[in-house]
């Protein structure tokens, strides 16, 4: 186990390094002057030079990359002050420490993810299993029907419509906004309700579909039949034998979804004007804010890698045949 963890974390670090290098150098693959981005109305060559110097763009690319990498482990000093490790540099645009802005945005993204997660796991898996249990009945048909239709929807299509109904025309709800849970739990809850609902609706649909089909698949496994042949009750077989096997594909997909959500639910955040990681990432990459983009990229990769490891561990717990190696 421990050995597994060590080996996986090492490879994770390696991969993150590669990603960083890849991103960094691809950004320089086309000649572009990052200074121009922070240069406003009177963009004279002198001013550009000044900006370049301030951003350390006058140094050779390799040096810049080296500094960036060193910064992550050792921290760096900037005109705006010392940036302690893990230092992902300073945003070209805002001049803030990338790490700080990421940390500043993360609570929102986390709240969005967790809230949505709870909803769509509860409802998604619940409905899915119910449908599988009542396979062929009206319940099943309704559940499957609704889920396949909803899963074909998109947040950016559903979001505006929901807002239009519940906020702008009826005024039943306030516009979504993020209040830190620590400040005011109820405001936190109310503020994120709509995004959660919209996000969860689509995810719920997908998880309903998935859990239903995997459950049905499992129920057709021979060992499940054996369990019945032993005289175990339908419930018991359903929840002990079939469910255990159904968890594997579900955990797999869940891992993927979680990592992408934690890396920032871009669409959700933009649809509801929320400032999370995803928004930060997109804005930074659209404005060629290299350090910020790198930061976001690594941040996302980090979650993907972590969740891969977690999923593998989960496998080992679910299925004794899997060995962590």
């Amino acid at each position: 186990m421990l050995q597994f963890l060590i080996r996986r974390s090492i490879s994770a670090v390696a991969i993150m390094f590669l990603i960083a290098a890849f991103t960094f150098f691809l950004f320089y693959a086309v000649p572009q002057d990052f200074a121009a981005l922070s240069c406003g109305k009177n963009c004279s060559p002198e001013n550009l030079a000044v900006i370049r110097e301030n951003l350390g763009l006058d140094k050779p690319i390799t040096t810049q990359f080296w500094d960036f990498m060193v910064g992550i482990v050792a921290g760096r000093d900037f005109a705006v002050g010392h940036c302690s490790a893990p230092c992902l540099g300073v945003s070209f645009k805002s001049g803030d420490f990338v790490w700080d802005s990421l940390m500043d945005r993360f609570p929102l993204t986390l709240s969005l993810t967790i809230g949505g997660l709870v909803i769509f796991l509860l409802f998604g898996l619940g409905t899915g299993m119910l449908a599988a249990w009542k396979r062929g009945t009206v319940v099943d048909k309704l559940a499957s029907g609704a889920s396949i239709v909803l899963s074909s929807f998109q947040i950016y299509l559903l979001g505006p419509i929901v807002l239009g109904i519940f906020v702008y025309s009826t005024g039943w709800m306030e516009n979504p906004k993020y209040v830190p849970f620590t400040d005011d739990p109820s405001a936190w809850f109310i503020g994120l309700l709509i995004p959660w609902a919209v996000m969860a609706t689509i995810f719920t649909a997908q998880y309903t579909r998935m859990s239903r089909s995997t459950m049905i698949e499992q129920l057709q496994e021979e060992h499940v039949r054996t369990a019945r042949a032993k005289g175990m009750s339908q419930k018991y077989v359903f929840f002990r034998y079939a469910w255990r096997g159904a968890m594997i594909p579900i955990v797999t997909i869940l891992g993927l979804d979680l990592s992408s959500l934690l890396a920032g639910g871009v669409v959700t955040e933009f649809t509801f004007d929320l400032a999370g990681i995803g928004r930060l990432a997109v804005e930074s990459s659209l404005t060629k804010d290299l350090p910020l983009t790198m930061g976001a990229m690594l941040f996302g990769a980090f979650f993907i890698l972590i969740l891969n490891i977690l999923v593998d561990i989960a496998y080992a717990f679910i299925d004794p045949r899997v060995r962590l190696s």
Partner: protein, 598 residues
């Protein structure tokens, strides 16, 4: 995902200190629109008075109370992206300019009466400044009891520091008028490290005989100095408070409000600055307890929220963004909502700049000018409330604006005059399918207008190569002298209501340089000469010369086809009082707003 508007895009929106223009009176846009529109321009024309330089009396606080004003409460501000800067030295664009109105104070400031007439008054200084030596020397005395947010009294040293730090590498984004007037175009050489290494400008340039007095020495008359100093870019940065780069994140306030919390790309909170003394300020008020900025709300949902007017949106205003073009109809066609708008001209003129190094034949330029369907271009930018077809290159916000001026018949033929254009093309002997490279900023509007331009120029036989440029670097790209493009849409706005701040930067051949706003690279001796003369004159006399230059530029050189004057329409919540269009900022007047029910 909505388009992300970068600061550079906004950068062209100068801090407009417009020649008086009372649009606020006519917010009732019901009834016959065209008549109404005409009317507004007549007002504009009729009311143009030159800006007055006020004396000490007018410069003394407190400012005249706003009728029915209450104090207390917090105003919510919707913005779609961060303020570009908070360090005054870096501030050159309107969003930060509005902010500067609340937080910063300069030597002088603009005072606007209810008809939108402007005076330059002393702000930190006792008056708008005492010229001597034929306007080559300007002397300022400081008011007593002006303090920064920590209670330090402001002295002439702070003023000097403010000017001098603009020579250092810390500042690269703000206006450069005063520096260049004092030390010439390459002013940075005179004080490379600014004041930070203990060096200072010689007294022959900037003199501080005592703690209350500052004297500027120029090598030629600078009649516009009081207006230049009123720019946020020259607001005071107290020596003790200056943290160089960090100052842009946490500036020290002299104005009625100070920054209490700032989260990049997210939010900004302003609270009362207790050290601000109303008696020293003849312009600002301190009605509300503070402002909460949310910097993530794009125009579309700003508008939706304000139309809906639910909950916190009741106390909300738009900052420098406008009503979302798609929703203008909903706003103006609904009387209740329309009551909650401010409408007015923006100071800048959208023009199709020709790269004169590439399109040398005036006939071709004229042909294109005739061909452009101005109407469609305006519609791509929000229709009538987004802009108004332009006849010339001077905005309605400039003194001496003439609404009838229309050398290319754009007003008569809003969708372009293709016949005329085709003739000219024939005369010019351009063969069918000649390539023209049109550079545009890759924003939704840029894309839409690109389609129109392509369509129109194709009709007169050009093969238009539409080249999109990352909207973040658009102006930098086309600002390059050696840029490979033939034409590009540019907009420029005055820095204060004087033609000098338009003609000089944009059409003065002597100013041509990488990154200078002379995007067409026009260099006409006659124009240059007129400019040189005009700059030395008092605004009043100068006007004639500017007009002469304007005609010369538009009719005889045509470096840029006038397309449309931009206009703005902003919404505010139902609990906002005192909201009116500010001629000075060309946005909602931030000095007068309060909450009806705090």
């Amino acid at each position: 995902m909505k388009p992300i508007r970068s600061r550079s895009v906004r950068a062209i929106a100068a801090i407009a200190v417009a020649g008086s223009l009372a649009l606020t009176g006519c917010s009732s846009d019901s009834g016959n629109e065209s008549k109404d529109r005409a009317k507004t321009q007549d007002d504009a024309a009729s009311q143009q008075k030159p800006v007055q330089y006020a004396d000490a009396a007018a410069s003394n606080g407190p400012a005249a109370e706003v009728a029915g004003a209450k104090s207390g409460g917090t105003i919510n501000v919707y913005v779609q992206s961060d303020l570009s800067h908070m360090d005054p030295g870096q501030i050159y664009v309107s969003d930060a300019g509005q902010f500067a109105n609340l937080v910063h104070r300069g030597l002088t400031n603009f005072q606007e009466d209810k008809n939108g007439n402007l005076k330059v008054v002393g702000d930190v200084a006792t008056d708008s400044g005492q010229p001597s030596d034929g306007g080559k020397t300007w002397t300022y005395k400081l008011k007593k009891g002006v303090k920064d947010e920590d209670g330090n009294v402001i002295t002439s040293k702070d003023v000097r520091h403010t000017i001098e730090r603009q020579y250092s590498k810390v500042i690269f984004d703000g206006p450069t008028y005063v520096q260049t007037w004092l030390s010439g175009a390459d002013y940075r050489k005179d004080l490379p490290d600014g004041p930070y290494k203990g060096k200072h400008l010689p007294d022959t340039v900037l003199e501080t005989p005592d703690d209350e007095t500052v004297v500027f020495h120029f090598n030629q008359p600078r009649p516009d100095l009081p207006q230049a100093l009123a720019m946020a870019g020259y607001a005071i940065v107290p020596e003790k408070q200056d943290t160089k780069e960090k100052y842009d994140k946490a500036p020290a306030a002299l104005g009625p409000y100070k920054v209490s919390e700032y989260k990049a790309g997210k939010s900004l909170k302003l609270v009362k600055n207790t050290q601000w003394d109303a008696k020293t300020d003849s312009v600002r008020h301190q009605y509300v307890d503070g402002y909460n900025f949310t910097t993530t709300i794009d125009q579309a949902s700003q508008t939706k929220r304000l139309i809906a007017d639910q909950g916190e949106a009741k106390n909300a205003i738009q900052w420098t963004d406008a009503v979302d073009t798609a929703q203008i109809q909903d706003v103006v066609s609904n009387a209740a909502v329309n009551k909650r708008t401010v409408k007015g001209y923006q100071p800048y003129v959208w023009q199709m700049s020709f790269n004169l190094d590439k399109i040398k034949d005036k006939k071709i330029r004229d042909a294109i000018t005739y061909a452009i369907p101005a109407q469609a271009m305006v519609q791509a930018d929000g229709g009538r409330y987004g802009g108004e077809i332009a006849g010339g290159l001077f905005a309605p916000t400039l003194p001496g604006f003439d609404a009838k001026y229309d050398p290319y018949g754009k007003l008569k033929k809003p969708n372009g005059d293709l016949e005329k254009a085709k003739e000219l093309i024939k005369e010019a002997g351009v063969k069918e399918g000649t390539k023209l490279t049109y550079a545009y900023s890759n924003s939704p509007r840029g894309q839409a207008q690109q389609v129109i331009i392509k369509d129109a120029l194709a009709k007169i036989g050009f093969d238009v190569q539409a080249k999109e440029i990352d909207r973040a670097t658009f102006y930098e790209q086309i600002g390059k002298l050696k840029n490979p493009y033939d034409l590009y849409m540019t907009g420029w706005g005055q820095d204060w209501p004087s033609q000098s701040t338009v003609v000089t930067p944009v059409y003065d051949g002597t100013q041509i340089a990488d990154g200078s706003p002379n995007y067409s690279h026009i260099n006409d001796p006659q124009v240059n000469k007129l400019i040189e003369e005009a700059l030395k004159l008092e605004p009043a006399e100068a006007a004639a010369k500017w007009e002469q230059a304007h005609k010369r530029i538009v009719e005889e050189i045509n470096p840029a086809a006038p397309v449309y004057y931009s206009k703005t329409i902003q919404l505010f919540g139902s609990n906002i009082g005192g909201a009116k269009y500010s001629v000075e900022s060309s946005y909602i007047d931030i000095n007068n707003v309060f909450l009806k029910q705090p």
